[in-house]
């Protein structure tokens, strides 16, 4: 068993004095775990920061073994985000959600490519990073089989004036049909339909919506970094 792949570091746990057990998201092999010798050392720690892009090689004698990982740094994404609280929390939230939500060793290229897009957005200077994060969580839900259907109203079949999402089915509901049930429905932020740069309160609504479906279907508990991200964005809304 031996493969090489592009990957994103999701988390690292110290193992002994100098080694680490790293969780990475690979392009073709999904979420994978492996022992990184020297991963807890001075050089290894810098490479294995969550969010960093690496060239990974994994090998083991048998497929069901933990295996050994060798990670060579491709792009140090984390280092560029350390001074920006919002972007850093966004990165930490994405890594934590991916590490907890994705099944191990199941290829999910769409989530990987979505994640690289999110990293590019975080490394850039535009204001749309929080919106990109919400879209990435929606792609994650879709990859896991809990995609939201935002094309048509579940009640009328219309594809305009969509304003809510049903918490039971994950389908969009238009404003007129959803008005009597507005307290029970989730608000559908407009930027998810139009692709425009979202206002802060719309991002908060998006996080509430994806967070609801993540905790309902995928996660037993919401990672603290994801909770903090929602708090930070709500504070700025």
């Amino acid at each position: 068993m031996d493969w090489t792949d592009e990957a994103i570091v999701l988390s690292t746990r110290r193992h002994g004095e100098t080694s680490a057990i790293a969780t990475i998201l690979t392009r073709e092999h999904g979420r994978h775990v492996g022992l990184v010798r020297g991963g807890a050392g001075r050089v290894g720690r810098a490479v294995l920061q969550p969010g960093n892009r690496v060239h990974a090689r994994w090998w083991a004698r048998l497929e069901d073994q933990l295996g050994t990982l060798n990670c060579e740094l491709a792009r140090a994404e984390a280092a560029g985000l350390l001074v920006d609280a919002r972007r850093l929390t966004c990165l930490a939230a994405a890594c934590a959600v991916a590490a907890m939500a994705l099944p191990e060793r199941e290829p999910c290229p769409a989530v990987y490519h979505g994640f690289t897009g999110l990293l590019d957005s975080l490394a850039g200077t535009d204001d749309g990073t929080a919106g990109a994060y919400v879209r990435w969580e929606m792609a994650l839900l879709a990859e896991l089989g809990y995609g939201l259907d935002l094309d048509h109203c579940a009640v009328t079949g219309r594809n305009n004036d969509l304003a809510y999402v049903s918490p039971r089915t994950g389908r969009a509901v238009c404003a007129s049909a959803g008005e009597p049930y507005r307290d029970k429905l989730l608000r559908l932020p407009r930027f998810l339909l139009t692709g425009e740069t979202p206002m802060p309160q719309e991002v908060v609504a998006g996080l509430t919506m994806t967070g609801y479906f993540l905790t309902r279907h995928v996660l037993t508990i919401m990672p603290s970094a994801r909770i903090r991200l929602a708090e930070i964005l709500a504070g700025g809304a």
């Binding site: 988390s11 746990r13 004095e17 050089v43 720690r45 810098a46 490479v47 920061q49 969550p50 969010g51 960093n52 740094l73 792009r75 140090a76 984390a78 280092a79 560029g80 350390l82 001074v83 609280a85 850093l88 929390t89 990165l91 930490a92 939230a93 890594c95 934590a96 590490a99 907890m100 990672p223 603290s224 970094a225 994801r226 903090r228 930070i232």
Partner: protein, 197 residues
């Protein structure tokens, strides 16, 4: 090979950082060979430390007195607090001799996957200390890692209500570091933190 007492000593030594079973065996043998010079003084030192060690109720440092020698030192600048992750970091700062203020040991950093939340850190005491009238600056001396800097931002947010200036350690090229040998992350951080010469 040897009696149960010596085997027990070797097993306990092997649990110390930096020592494996073989090096622990060598250390035990050295202690046994130099009973008068090493073993007896070591036993005495261990007993003394075990009897007197305390966690400082003010900053979280380890010392044989409470408050610790740093907190009790009137020559220290009480207006500046340096927040560190662990006692090892406090000792590193003291070794450097670059700081003459007081410390606050957090006892860890926030970690989403390890389940370390704000309630697991010594944060309330920090907020209370930073709110004291004498304190004018809080230095966040936390690691240049995602968890370390996430914690720094969280603390900065928590201390907004306190009337103090908040600063963090610079990230960049280490002393004696040559650019050719640095990782890309360090070079990126150093470039972003560049200053006029």
């Amino acid at each position: 090979m040897s009696g149960p007492e010596i085997e027990r000593l070797i097993k306990l030594l092997a649990r110390l950082p930096g020592l494996g079973p073989r090096s622990a065996r060598r250390a035990a043998l050295t202690l046994i060979k130099k009973r008068a010079d090493l073993l007896a003084p070591l036993r005495s030192a261990l007993t003394d430390v075990a009897d007197t060690i305390r966690t400082c109720g003010v900053c979280g440092n380890f010392d044989t007195q409470d408050p610790c020698a740093i907190c009790a030192d009137p020559g220290r600048d009480a207006s500046v607090l340096c927040v560190v992750q662990d006692v090892a970091d406090l000792w590193a700062m003291e070794r450097a001799g670059a700081f003459r203020g007081r410390y606050h040991v957090l006892g860890g950093v926030l970690s989403a996957l390890d389940g370390v939340g704000p309630e697991d850190l010594c944060l309330e005491a920090l907020v209370a200390r930073a709110s004291e009238a004498a304190v004018v600056e809080v230095i966040l001396a936390l690691g240049a890692t995602v968890d370390g800097q996430t914690t720094a931002h969280y603390i900065a947010n928590r201390l907004q209500a306190a009337d103090v200036s908040i600063s963090g350690l610079a990230h960049g090229v280490p002393m004696g570091g040559e650019l050719d040998y640095l990782d890309e992350g360090t070079i990126l951080a150093a470039m972003r933190a560049r200053r006029p010469v």
